[in-house]
Amino acid sequence: MLYTASLYIALLIFSVGCLWRLWTWFTLRVGDSAQNETASRRIVAAVKGILSTLFSGAIFTMIREFVFNVLLQWKILKENPLRWCMHMLIYLGFILLFFLHAIDGTYSHPFFNNFYSTLNPYLSLRNIFGAMVIAGIILAVYRRITIKKLRSLTSPMDKYAIIILAVIMLSGVFLEASKIVSHQSFERMLQEYVHPDLYISDYEEDPYLEALMAYWQEDYGVVFPSIIDVDEEKLEFGQRVNDEFLCSSCHSRPSSAFVSYGTAKLISPAANTLTRFGAEVWLWYIHFLASFIGLAYLPFSKFFHIFSTPVSLVANSVMKQTHDSQPANTATRRAMELDACMHCATCSIHCSVGQIYKTMPNTSILPSEKIIDLKRLASRKEMDSGELQRISEGAYICTSCHRCTDLCPAGINLQDLWFCIREDLARHGFAEPFVQAREKALRLTKAPAQAPLIPYTPEGKGMRDELLLSSQSNTFTHCYRCVTCSNECPVVACFDDPVKALGLLPHQIMHALGLGLRQETLSARMVWDCVTCYACQEACPQGVKVADILYELRNISYRDVKGNSPVKGVQKVTSKGNV
């Protein structure tokens, strides 16, 4: 009753969940081009696209992709063989268990001759598959613990997935083990298939029963309340009885169920206690409830990748990566890709700017987390400006090196999504951090021209302390305004009236720094139009690190954007400028 009810509830949640996920594929809008595509247009375009692809040469590309990257998971193998082993063990093991065990009652009989879950080869196969999944889970946990980046990125969702899987597998093993050792099961079967009045407690009066029990105790691992004395003659007799009662026609020796049998041997000292407390019953409850919870949770968890990732891989294999012919299909592909991510963190482990996460602790720098940001943006979750600022930092620290896209085992065109996230951020009014810092700095109000300079000077001392990092950056104090830097500057040379165009010229910035005119220096266009060619610094007769100072001024302005104080943990440069 509970079994059937919970199965149907789980199936219902599962179906509704899957439909909802499918619906998001046609409704989530990622990137500018998706903004005007309605769900109905996208569904029609998708159906057309699928039909036209199925009846074209592209079908072979799709089949090839399916075989290599869905079935054999070539991409994972190339990236990391250990991870491939882990995934293959879980995925193959679980699928085979699903067909040969989870749905055996209903579907296995028509497909397999003489199917009995308790007979070989099915009995041992089930254990082989179970052992595969368990080995896979162990590898998964091992990887998540030992690979530091993976460990720090493991989210509750990743943990739930592993926990549910582990509970299903372990409860299954223990369930089978508890049945192996259970004398109650033995008795029930005896009454059902031999005679309803047979009780194992009467074995002393029934030589047939005694022999059978001795045989089952020795060869099948059953633990009876009192140990049956065994001799060779009795065992031989027991074996004959086993055949005569037709026990052997349904039960292979459980030693071929090597995982459960090993576990049974392990628990056999406590077998009678376990049997008395009905271990086989509550393990069964745990086992099927965990399975059904897993089923119901599937569409809402990373498990959904078992559907979305193959679809994404196959679809991407035939859709042109960046310029898909149909904008409606591009929109659908991108929404689908958001679902295809299983948070394996391959992208983050190999990310070209992943190391920056250590120095700017912003998870949005890492691609595996950025895709979650994008999903939240696309589903129009409420986000405050601080969060959007963090996302934009991550989105633009990306150098578009394409490594994540090349390695993604789900075949997601991540690089394309990273361009979309910039578009989505722009619609929220968030530009590139460099531009954010520039615009903020250019808006700074300058002191009125007639105001005395002296009041600003204390601030200037603070300013000097802000310029901490580059080598000798407070060398601006050495400047004697010979204008060599400004004469060398190719940016200055671009303008007829450079002061008007650039606010302050490099030598004026160095001088203004000495006077402590913070706003004036940061808001000088020169700071933001520097090409970083180092011509100024090369030419300076005083050794002022002009270009490096301009870098640091941009850093200061960006810290203002983030509302951060100066970087901590670095010694201040001494007032002499040298360390």
Binding site: K148, H350, C351, S352, V353, G354, Q355, I356, K358, T359, M360, E393, I397, T399, S400, C401, H402, R403, D406, Q415, E432, P433, F434, V435, A437, R438, L469, S470, S471, Q472, P490, V491, C494, W528, D529, V531, T532, C533, Y534, A535, Q537, E538, A547, Y551, E552, R554, N555, Y558, V567, G569, V570, Q571, V579
Partner: protein, 293 residues
């Protein structure tokens, strides 16, 4: 000679031909290039956070050092970025110890022993002009080429030490080793403008326009660069500029390993010259016909 090759972020996705041509000529000249999964050199993040830049660069240095290899890069911006960081780490023990603290959990440590070099430096100093001239089997017959040095190879000269910052000659000599004429051009040391691309694209294109026009005025038929970003500027951005009618006709840009590669007997296709935005393949018409043996 064995080096860890540092490609930077842009070469693999946007200029695979720079990688393949570099590998071809290095292989032919007996330089072994070893792959390592490096991260970004740190240049782009330097505008936002100086320490993140230094740490990014330092991690790469530590990765190469960890394998006991010196590091070579074909990109001038990566070169500048890495060398500058190396300099700062030499000068500032406080930053060095912070870097090493951050590297410790990966079992990495930066000692400061390795040499960071650029492809041109390797060719000029380690391989040597003589050996390069010997390797040139199909020399050019004097196409006029404007070299563009790239800011970060030259300046700050005390750190980079690549060449004389005002009158550099090494790149010219390398180009002339192929039989090409390096046109006299005093602006060859100036910036291509790419660092401002997408930040102030107008100004960025003005820089490119100046460089292209100056090169053309000096009689150049081709540009030659040895930097990822200079090539983006003179290839991709120049194409945009032509479409916007900012410059009349293209002055195609060739990557140095392609120029040298052609003379060493590799085909334009092998060197990936068909994947440029502006076609420079007609330079092969300047090659002397080698009499068949």
């Amino acid at each position: 000679m064995k080096f860890a090759i540092f490609l930077g972020c842009k070469i693999p996705p946007f200029q695979p031909q720079y990688e393949s041509s570099t590998r071809l000529i290095c292989n032919a000249l007996g330089v072994e290039l070893v792959n390592e999964e490096f991260n970004c050199c740190g240049y782009p993040v330097r505008h936002l956070d100086y320490y993140s830049y230094i740490f990014s660069a330092a991690r790469n240095l530590a990765l190469a050092e960890n394998r006991g290899l010196d590091l070579i890069t074909p990109c001038k911006c990566c070169f500048g970025s890495l060398k500058k960081a190396q300099h700062i780490l030499r000068e500032r023990s406080d930053i060095l110890s912070r870097v090493n603290e951050n590297l410790a959990d990966e079992n990495l440590e930066y000692q400061g022993e390795l040499r960071v070099t650029h492809l041109l430096e390797l060719l000029y100093h380690d391989v040597g002009l003589e050996k390069i001239k010997q390797a040139v089997t199909r020399p050019f017959e004097q196409p006029r080429v404007a070299v563009h040095y790239g800011c970060h190879a030259l300046r700050p000269s005390k750190i980079m030490g690549f060449d004389n910052p005002e009158h550099p000659q090494k790149f010219d000599q390398l180009v002339e080793a192929t039989g090409a004429v390096s046109v006299s051009l005093n602006k060859k040391i100036q910036c291509c403008g790419n660092p401002l691309w997408e930040k102030n694209s107008e100004l960025s294109m003005l820089f490119a326009q100046k460089r292209i026009n100056q090169a053309r005025a000096a009689g150049a038929e081709y540009l030659c660069v040895a930097c990822t970003y200079c090539q983006i500027q003179f290839d991709t951005v120049q194409k945009i500029m032509i479409s916007e009618e900012r410059i009349p006709d293209p002055l195609p840009s060739i990557l140095y390993p392609q120029l040298l590669g052609l003379c060493m007997g590799f085909s334009a296709q092998e060197l990936g010259m068909d994947s440029h935005d502006l076609d420079s393949r007609d330079i092969v018409s300047f090659q002397k016909v080698v009499p068949s043996a």
